[in-house]
C-alpha cells in the first residue's frame, strides 16, 4: 500500500536528538491514520548511524560517507521515496501531536503547493512563522523571529517558508526540479519556494500546534550560510516582491 507521507531528515550526528525527532514524528503521524515512512540521510556523521538502532521498520537509512549539500541529500532521499507527500524535517524539530494533521488539512489537502508551519524556540518565542523579503540588501528573513506571538489565523500566505518543516507534494517537487544543489547550506528551501510560486502555486505557513525547533545545533552551519546567502541574492535580488 502506497505511503501517504515520507519524512526526509538529513542529519549529521546528534543521535539522541534524532531519536526524539523520529519519536515525535511517529506520534504525530498516528493522527493521520495513513501509512507513513521516514528516510534518514546520514550526512557523513563521524559515527555512522546504526540501522538496527532504529527500531521502526518504517525508517530507511541512506548513508553518505562524503558530506553532501543539504539540497543534494534531500533530492537523493526524495528519489528513494514512493509517498504522495514529502515532509522535509530538521533533526532538531520536535513536532506536536496535531502538527501533521493540521499541515495536511490546511495545507496540502487544500491544494496548496508548499506548507510550512509555525515553529517555536524552547522558551516559547517564535522561531519561524513565514519568510518575508526586505528591500535592498536585507533579503529574506524570518518574520517576527524571537518575539512572543500567538497565531491569530490558521493559514497565512508567504513567498517562502523554512525547509526545517516543509510539506510538499512529491509530484510538484519533481516538476519544479527539486532543491538547487549549487547552494552549499541554506536558502535552497527559499529558492525552491520562489520557483514554486512562479508556477502559480501557493506557499503558506500553517498554525500546526506548537512544534519546537532548537535551531542550528549542528556545529559549523553558520559559516556555510554566508556564501549561500550571497549566491541567493545574486540570483534573486530584484525578482522577489517586498513584503517585510
Amino acid at each position: 500500500m502506497k505511503n501517504l507521507l515520507c519524512a526526509v531528515i538529513v542529519s549529521r550526528g546528534l543521535d539522541e536528538m534524532l531519536r526524539f525527532c523520529l519519536k515525535s514524528f511517529f506520534e504525530s503521524s498516528v493522527h493521520l491514520s495513513e501509512p507513513v515512512e521516514v528516510i534518514v540521510a546520514d550526512n557523513a556523521s563521524p559515527r555512522p548511524y546504526n540501522a538496527s538502532s532504529f527500531a521502526d521498520r518504517r525508517i530507511r537509512l541512506l548513508r553518505f560517507d562524503g558530506h553532501k549539500a543539504f539540497a543534494t541529500a534531500c533530492n537523493k532521499a526524495v528519489q528513494e521515496s514512493t509517498s504522495e507527500y514529502v515532509l522535509f524535517l530538521n533533526n532538531d524539530v520536535l513536532l506536536d501531536q496535531s502538527s501533521l494533521l493540521l499541515m495536511m488539512q490546511h495545507g496540502c489537502n487544500a491544494g496548496i503547493g508548499v506548507t510550512g508551519s509555525w515553529l517555536y524556540f524552547p522558551d516559547g518565542r517564535v522561531q519561524h512563522r513565514g519568510v518575508v523579503f526586505g528591500r535592498d540588501d536585507i533579503g529574506p528573513y524570518h518574520l517576527d523571529r524571537g518575539r512572543f506571538l500567538e497565531p491569530f489565523c490558521f493559514v497565512e500566505d508567504f513567498q517562502a517558508v523554512t525547509g526545517a518543516c516543509m510539506m510538499v507534494r512529491r509530484e510538484l517537487f519533481e516538476q519544479v526540479g527539486g532543491f538547487d544543489e549549487s547552494y552549499a547550506f541554506g536558502l535552497e528551501d527559499i529558492d525552491f519556494c520562489l520557483r514554486v510560486r512562479q508556477r502559480g502555486h501557493r506557499v503558506v505557513c500553517v498554525n500546526a500546534g506548537r512544534p519546537i525547533h532548537f535551531e542550528a545545533l549542528t556545529p559549523g552551519r553558520i559559516e556555510l550560510d554566508v556564501t549561500s546567502r550571497q549566491q541567493f541574492l545574486e540570483r534573486w535580488r530584484g525578482k522577489y516582491t517586498i513584503d517585510g
Binding site: 500567538e150 497565531p151 491569530f152 489565523c153
Partner: protein, 308 residues
C-alpha cells in the same frame, strides 16, 4: 411597581413573576391582589417568560415589565381591540414610549419601538436573549400592528439617568451569548458607526440623543472586545481603530518625525567631521527654527564641549 399595579388593576387576573427581589416589590404586588410566583435569577431575561405564560387561567395575556405602565384608558382600548380582532389575530404589536433620564424619546430609533405583549395564550414564544422580540408561533399574518397616534401605548420608564443606562448596557454585554464563529472586529467598529447614525436624532431628542447614541456605538465596540476574549484572544483585531480621529494641538514648531530623523543624521555626521564652531552655528540655526527643542540642543552642546 405601584404605578404599574394601579394601571392594570382592571385585569381579571394578575401574576407577578419575581426574580429574587429584596425590596417591597412582592409586598406591593400582594397588596393589589396579584399572585406572586418565584423565578430563578437568570442571565438573559426573555426566555424565562415562557415558563410562566401557562400559569394564567385566561385566554388573552398581557405581559409588562416592572418599569412599564399603561394609561388610564388602557382597559377600554384593550377591550375594543379584542372585540374587533380576536378572531383574525393572535398577537398585537404595541408601540412603546421610552423615557430615559426624565425625557420621553421621540427619535425614530427609540419610538415607536413596537413590542409583542398582548397575545393569545400559546401563540408566542421568547428565546434565550435579552430585550429581543418573541416569535409569533401562528405566523406573522396573525400579528396586528397598532399604528400611532391615538392607539394603545406601553409607557416605559427606561432609565433614570445616563449613568444607569451605561451600567445596564455593560451588564447586558457581559451577560450575552457570543457565537463561536463569525468574529470580525472590523465589523464591530463599522457597526458602531452605523449604530451611532441610527440612534442620533438631535432634532427630536436634543443633546440626550447624542449622548445615548455615543453610548450605543461604544456598546458595539465593547461587545466586540468581550467576544474576542471569550474566543480566547486568538483572533486578530485587524487594527480596527475605534476612537475618533483627531489632531493634537497645533504648535507651529512641533517636531515632526522627519525633523527628529534629520537631527539624528546631522549629529551623526557632526561626530565624524571636526570643527566645533560649525556645529555651534548649525545648532543655533536649528534652535531658532524649533524653539521647543532647547533642552535637546543643550544636551548636544554639552556633548560637543566634552568631546572637543
Amino acid at each position: 411597581m405601584s404605578r404599574l399595579m394601579e394601571s392594570v388593576r382592571w385585569a381579571e387576573e394578575c401574576i407577578v413573576v419575581d426574580m429574587d427581589s429584596h425590596d417591597r416589590t412582592c409586598e406591593i404586588a400582594r397588596q393589589y391582589g396579584a399572585t406572586v410566583l418565584q423565578a430563578p435569577v437568570v442571565q438573559r431575561i426573555d426566555g424565562i417568560r415562557n415558563d410562566f405564560l401557562g400559569c394564567g387561567r385566561h385566554e388573552w395575556i398581557l405581559v409588562l415589565d416592572a418599569d412599564e405602565y399603561l394609561a388610564e384608558d388602557a382597559e377600554q382600548i384593550i377591550h375594543e381591540l379584542l372585540e374587533q380582532y380576536k378572531r383574525s389575530c393572535d398577537a398585537f404589536f404595541i408601540p412603546r414610549y421610552n423615557m430615559i433620564a426624565g425625557q420621553i424619546m421621540r427619535g425614530s430609533n427609540w419610538y415607536p419601538d413596537q413590542q409583542i405583549r398582548l397575545f393569545r395564550k400559546g401563540c408566542v414564544q421568547w428565546s434565550d436573549t435579552t430585550h429581543k422580540l418573541p416569535e409569533v408561533l401562528t405566523g406573522q399574518e396573525r400579528l396586528h400592528t397598532l399604528e400611532p397616534p391615538g392607539c394603545l401605548h406601553i409607557h416605559h420608564e427606561n432609565y433614570n439617568s445616563v449613568e444607569q443606562f451605561i451600567e445596564r448596557q455593560i451588564q447586558y454585554a457581559l451577560k450575552d451569548n457570543y457565537p463561536a464563529n463569525g468574529f470580525s472586529f472590523e465589523d464591530c467598529v463599522a457597526k458602531a458607526y452605523e449604530e451611532f447614525n441610527f440612534r442620533l436624532d438631535e432634532k427630536n431628542d436634543g443633546e440626550l440623543s447624542f449622548a445615548l447614541a455615543t453610548v450605543m456605538a461604544w456598546d458595539k465596540v465593547i461587545r466586540g472586545l468581550i467576544h474576542w476574549e471569550r474566543l480566547g484572544r486568538k483572533e486578530s483585531l485587524s487594527r480596527a481603530y475605534s476612537l475618533p480621529v483627531t489632531t493634537i494641538a497645533g504648535y507651529p514648531n512641533y517636531l515632526l518625525p522627519e525633523d527628529v530623523e534629520e537631527l539624528r543624521n546631522r549629529i551623526r555626521r557632526l561626530e565624524t567631521i571636526p570643527g566645533v564652531k560649525k556645529a555651534e552655528r548649525w545648532l543655533n540655526a536649528f534652535g531658532r527654527r524649533f524653539p521647543r527643542t532647547k533642552n535637546q540642543l543643550k544636551r548636544i552642546r554639552q556633548y560637543l564641549k566634552r568631546t572637543a
